[in-house]
């Protein structure tokens, strides 16, 4: 702020000053901070909705919510976690770290960066306002299948459509910014194959975003015209086809799930070498595996639709293509394990979260393989087994990845070390709670408990009680995480520039906390240095 003070001619009211600073900022670090706080806030809002869901499912029968309201909470929980918590958190990390990691002074398009962030609060205000409208919030699940969302959607569906449009525009602008930055602003000597893996995974993620967010925009636009302008894209009686909705949605939806995990892969690939004090094993294969996963993600969407009456040949194609993804993913998991092999490992909190990420994401990967099998999928489809699967890849996957990144880079951001003891308590309670919450869902799902229903048969009671208790503890651990973050920002041992002695990369050459402006003259990366 000192640097800016000279350029501001007149002093304004402090509140105005504060608002203007954050509203008009074009600094990548400040925008990164904004993204991270917004995603943290939305994580708690959507997490609160998860608590409502688990409270209702604690016992069979209808106790706390009417089925209509349960559906609304369920829908908003999914939408906000996907578009509000996981994606903005990764974009925030990208904003903060990519310029620091490639030696750039800022993002390439700083004004667009500001715009892409400030759209988001309005998008989520639109979406959340639907809770207070007559007819209630959207109630058709985060996948908003037609005709539930077209013929039978509540009036507030139009607010949802507009909100999704805004989120899409924001994501596309963020992705364009990231690609242009990485392509044009790398420091001299930072060749493609020297880029840190977090940067590589984000580059590939950004391409996925630009390819599929417009398809999502297209499908919600078709919904809008079906609802109000007499078209029949998804109305069978008018010559359209509701199954086509699922095809277009999952053409977006499957790459989307990789958008939510690839940056996490990048984070694990930064942290594991640091605390193993070894170079990442198989750097090149990591890059190619990420690209292969991204490519395959475009040709597997049909595995979400095995039960729609797809022809046998298509089922076989999608099954085999899906199982192929296990190959590059396996390459990554083995590379992380090989990195740790014979390393001098220490278990600081970021490393714990990264190892937890690798292990529990792999559990989710295996249940994904089970779901990929056509004959088995007919049993698993739309049961809690699916819920267990995607929560395992998202919670201990995407969210633990984000938390690992926060612990890893927080000293760089605020200049204070977090409390290691509290961090470890957070990790172990969260890990026990996350497994208590989601592991029993495998069993209730295999036994036939359907998803998205507020009531269930008596034999599922025990599993659901265990899940609900785990979920309550899990929610509390994240409040504890918020406490740790705030405590670290306010006080703590001073962090050195090189926060972790085993860490490599340009971000550790700038002081902690990182000054507002870094790398105004680009650093030079010598031959043989870095990756």
């Amino acid at each position: 702020m000192v640097a800016h003070a000279e350029t501001i001619p007149k002093r304004r009211h402090p509140v105005l000053e504060f608002a203007a600073r954050w509203l008009f900022t074009t600094n990548h670090k400040e925008i990164g901070t904004l993204y991270l706080w917004l995603s943290f806030l939305l994580f708690f809002i959507a997490g609160g909705m998860a608590m409502v869901i688990r409270l209702e499912l604690f016992e069979p029968g209808i106790q706390f919510t009417q089925p209509e309201f349960y559906n609304q909470v369920l829908t908003l929980h999914g939408l906000i976690m996907v578009f509000g918590a996981v994606m903005p958190a990764f974009v925030g990390l990208a904003n903060w770290m990519i310029p620091l990691m490639i030696g750039a002074p800022d993002m390439a398009l700083p004004r667009m960066n500001n715009f892409s962030f400030w759209i988001l609060p309005f998008a989520f205000a639109l979406l959340l306002s639907s809770l207070f409208m007559e007819g209630g919030a959207p109630n058709f699940g985060w996948t908003f299948y037609a005709p539930l969302s077209t013929t039978y959607g509540p009036p507030s569906t139009d607010f949802f459509i507009l909100g999704v449009h805004l989120m899409g525009i924001s994501s596309i602008m963020g992705a364009i910014n990231i690609i242009v930055t990485i392509v044009n602003l790398r420091a001299p000597g930072m060749t493609w194959m020297k880029m840190p893996l977090f940067v590589w995974t984000w580059l590939i993620t950004a391409f996925l975003l630009i390819m599929v967010m417009p398809v999502l925009a297209g499908v919600v636009t078709m919904m809008l015209t079906d609802r109000h302008f007499g078209t029949s894209f998804f109305n069978a009686a008018g010559g359209g086809d509701p199954v086509m909705f699922q095809h277009i949605f999952w053409f977006f939806g499957h790459p989307e799930v990789y958008i939510m995990i690839l940056p996490g892969f990048g984070i694990a690939s930064q942290i594991i070498p640091t605390f193993s004090r070894k170079k990442l094993f198989g750097y090149h294969s990591m890059v190619y595996a990420t690209a292969a996963i991204a490519f395959l993600s475009f040709i597997v969407w049909g595995h979400h639709m095995f039960t729609t009456g797809m022809p046998f040949v298509a089922e076989m194609f999608f099954m085999i293509a899906t199982m192929l993804i296990a190959v590059p993913t396996g390459v990554k998991v083995f590379n992380w394990v090989a990195t740790m092999w014979r390393g001098s490992i220490t278990f600081e909190t970021p490393m714990l979260f990264a190892i937890g990420f690798v292990m529990m994401f792999t559990i989710g990967g295996f249940s994904g393989l089970m779901l990929a099998l056509v004959p088995a999928d007919f049993q698993y489809h739309d049961t809690f087994f699916v819920v267990a699967h995607f929560h395992y890849v998202l919670y201990p996957g995407a969210i633990f990845g984000t938390m690992a990144a926060v612990y890893y880079w927080l000293p760089k951001w605020c200049g204070h070390m977090y409390d290691e003891r509290l961090g470890k308590i957070h990790f172990w309670t969260a890990t026990i709670a996350v497994n208590t919450t989601f592991f029993p869902m495998h069993f209730s799902g295999l036994a036939g408990m359907p998803r998205r229903i507020p009531d269930y048969a008596l034999q599922f009671t025990d599993f659901n009680m265990v899940s609900s208790i785990g979920a309550g503890v899990l929610g509390l651990t994240q409040v504890f995480f918020l406490f740790i973050v705030i405590k670290t920002i306010r006080a703590g041992a001073r962090a050195k520039a090189q926060v972790w002695e085993g860490a490599e990369g340009l971000e550790w050459t700038v002081p902690s906390p990182a000054p507002l402006h870094t790398f105004e003259t680009p650093p030079v990366i010598a031959e043989g240095q870095g990756h």
Partner: protein, 187 residues
């Protein structure tokens, strides 16, 4: 900074995003063409078959197919619409005809268009229509009624495991389609 290449890349990426938005809409005709070729999802051809094609279709005397007829009016369509016969038992390759009844219950002239659908979807391409009221629009004055014919044959290449077909029609109101749609949404 390489300002100019940065802008060029930005525009290229914006163009890619716009292109993908267009691609989402291009998926609709692609999907329809795909379904019409393969007959998936019960989309029947809206084209009449010629009498040569019918002559070329071999008759199978030893096989019987039950074909059921359904008719309904779309929301906002004030017509009574039903098949005269609920079902027919036909032999593949034989030409058959049946009729549907419509009556306009509205106090004014209404134009309608029927949209067909065949179930199971895989059978759609084997149901060939020589003549069908769904090929054109119908007009009925207030209280007017009529019978509308369809003549068809079941192609003898119909897969052996299909023994029953359903031919379903939905009648849409043509005038004020948008207006009606909005009213039905607000119900």
């Amino acid at each position: 900074m390489k300002q100019r290449t940065g802008m060029r890349h930005t525009f290229l990426l914006v163009a890619l995003a716009v292109g993908m938005f267009g691609f989402a809409f291009a998926l609709v005709p692609l999907y329809n063409v795909f379904c019409e070729i393969t007959g998936l999802n019960g989309k029947t051809s809206s084209r009449a078959v010629s009498s040569e094609e019918i002559a070329a279709s071999a008759q199978q005397a030893d096989r019987q197919i039950t074909i059921e007829f359904l008719a309904q009016s779309a929301r906002g369509m004030p017509w009574e619409f039903r098949p005269i016969e609920d079902r027919l038992v036909v032999r593949p390759g034989e030409l058959h005809a049946t009729t549907f009844y419509v009556r306009n219950r509205a106090p004014q002239m209404v134009t309608g268009q029927a949209v067909p659908s065949v179930s199971p979807g895989l059978a759609a391409q084997y149901l060939k229509k020589l003549e069908c009221f769904c090929f054109e629009q119908q007009e009925l004055p207030a209280g007017g009624e009529m019978e509308m014919g369809v003549s068809f044959l079941v192609d003898s290449n119909l897969p052996a495991d299909i023994k029953e077909l359903t031919l379903s029609y939905t009648m849409f109101r043509i005038e004020d389609a948008e207006h009606e749609h909005i009213i039905s949404q607000n119900e």
